[in-house]
Symmetry: C2
Amino acid sequence: MSDTTLPRSTSRVIAAKATEPGEPRSTSRRTFDDARKPISLRDVAAEAKVSVATVSMVLNDNPRISRATHLRISRIIERMGYQPNRLAQSLSSRYTRVLGVMLPALRHAFADAYFGELISGICDRAGKMGFKIMLEQAKPEFVKERKHIHIFERRYVDGLLVLGMNDRHHFLEDFADGRYPLCVVDNKFNQWKLDHAVCDYAGGAEQVMNYLLQLGHRHIGCIYAAPEIQTAADVLHVYRKRLGDSGHEVDDSWAQDGRFTDEGGAAAAAALLKRHPEITALFCGNDKMAIGAQHYLANAGIRVPEEVSVVGFDNMQNAAFVTPSLTTVHLPLYQVGALACERLIDRVRGRAERVAEVLPTHLVVRNSTAMARQS
Amino acid sequence: MSDTTLPRSTSRVIAAKATEPGEPRSTSRRTFDDARKPISLRDVAAEAKVSVATVSMVLNDNPRISRATHLRISRIIERMGYQPNRLAQSLSSRYTRVLGVMLPALRHAFADAYFGELISGICDRAGKMGFKIMLEQAKPEFVKERKHIHIFERRYVDGLLVLGMNDRHHFLEDFADGRYPLCVVDNKFNQWKLDHAVCDYAGGAEQVMNYLLQLGHRHIGCIYAAPEIQTAADVLHVYRKRLGDSGHEVDDSWAQDGRFTDEGGAAAAAALLKRHPEITALFCGNDKMAIGAQHYLANAGIRVPEEVSVVGFDNMQNAAFVTPSLTTVHLPLYQVGALACERLIDRVRGRAERVAEVLPTHLVVRNSTAMARQS
DNA sequence: CTGAAAGCGCTTACAG
DNA sequence: CTGAAAGCGCTTACAG
């Protein structure tokens, strides 16, 4: 602990300069003992010889303050290096200017590039709009103790963005009445009336199936995951429908759960190829599973793409740097995060209408796909 | 906007139950119009027929309150579903129970698994210790406008964790006086007196060099990055020193900057092998660059590990799922994040001594390394 | 156009 | 062991 009796440098020096030589002595009630205390509205008001109300209104750009006064007081605020205490501001104004970001309670959730991209978009946009981001994880206790409501009641946040949620996150129902602003990021729920911004997963899946069918693939396996997530279910649905439409029998033995992980993808690829050696293409629900599948295929001596084509979904950073580089669907996750954030802030500011934003996706063709082999 | 004239359900229902039938009417000053207002300390005090001070002390487990009173009032708090307004709490108590986490201003920084692991550790530990996490990015304006100080002065945070910072982040100097609690995560600075918790990079590098030299490698290239980061410089230093000690000429042409990216790693590998075709091993400063190097080698028709061994650094999730799986150094990033968080909270609570924590690392041998080829 | 005063919802000396 | 009151640092009607 440093010596309290010594005056400090930094901001206090700036404040000291506030009284120019020759000016009448400041009427501020700050004493020498206050040296470590931050400057308050009162100090600024005393220095400027106006009321605290006036300084407050200058700070909030209230039009009732004359241009001259505004300018004069702004200068004093600047010179004194005054920073408003936002706890006091929020307590009075009832806005915190903080948004919560809720992640699922997965181990090391933040290390997932999928969530990372969304959060990057959210943080950038929030920062530009004057909001801070607070992190939450949807742990079982969290929901059981109704902490998702408490963060509002206790005034931690003005709104909440939820990522990676699924149909079993029943607490989302508590937001259906619109009392507490919430926006679902990159997912959607039919059972609850909630704002959302989402990538067009079904559209991306259509492009993949078109492409594979055009290349002559007829024996296409699917490595899916988490069908309780609507967007993941959409992809699986398109896969089945397009295969059925093209006159092929659709049978659950052609689809295998890969749990969205590298390991799961490898295991699912192994299971599918054992069951159906005639498979010429694997359509994977994310890039990680696709990379796991490629890993399995390489170890099993099956060449990609000559013998089996592999398609991912995400377009994560490393998709271009595996061997062979991965054909995948690009998801504008950064943009979805930013858009969801903006829509949530609109809501915090009073917008009443629900929003449902869908951002387009597109196929990125690389080297993991080729014409179906002649078998 | 929903109808304001209707009484709401949820928490108000609970509060209504607080007056049991037959009890005298509550003396609370809450009226019907208050229906949407959250319950305050005053309401609880009125209901319990004690002063707000007493309820406050119950809330803060102040020992001056008798066990009987504590129990009785706790029950009432529970029954009413009261949640203290933490803005008011913080304004009075001068603690926010929020920690800032600062990331460098890299594009899509959150999508990096390295930062993600650290943040996972930080969030878990912070949550367990009753703290929330607020996100910040060290954008140029941010530092120029001294926002790193303002988040303290404005009472956003009690302490700050900084990730991915380097010697050019001069704003860290402002924390050397210990006035505002800060902890450097997975890095260290010799020029500024700051708390830190860091992985043993030099120790990991020693293990890599031992291993490669034992396998008979003598022509070892190094793909490094960001030598302005102390830990990265440590790795480069160990590489040079061990090569020199084993009687080899150390020459800058054997090391190449790979900018910590897949692309950079691929380009650096290409440059090194063009310059020195006799290279039998590449030691990379992180897994991403190693995977990029593997990608280049595969495309160039150079077999890994038969012709060239590749070693990474990080042990990121996918290191085990590239082909061939990657030999690398495991960094306990989750643990470093958690430990840094805990040390920062100690500091917030008043610990005066500086701390410098170092966590051990270890080599993980997989399939990207083998005996040096006979050339 | 500006000021005095009440209020936001807590905590914390200070009395008793 | 508990209460009355001041205070944390702002904003916002309400006067003038």
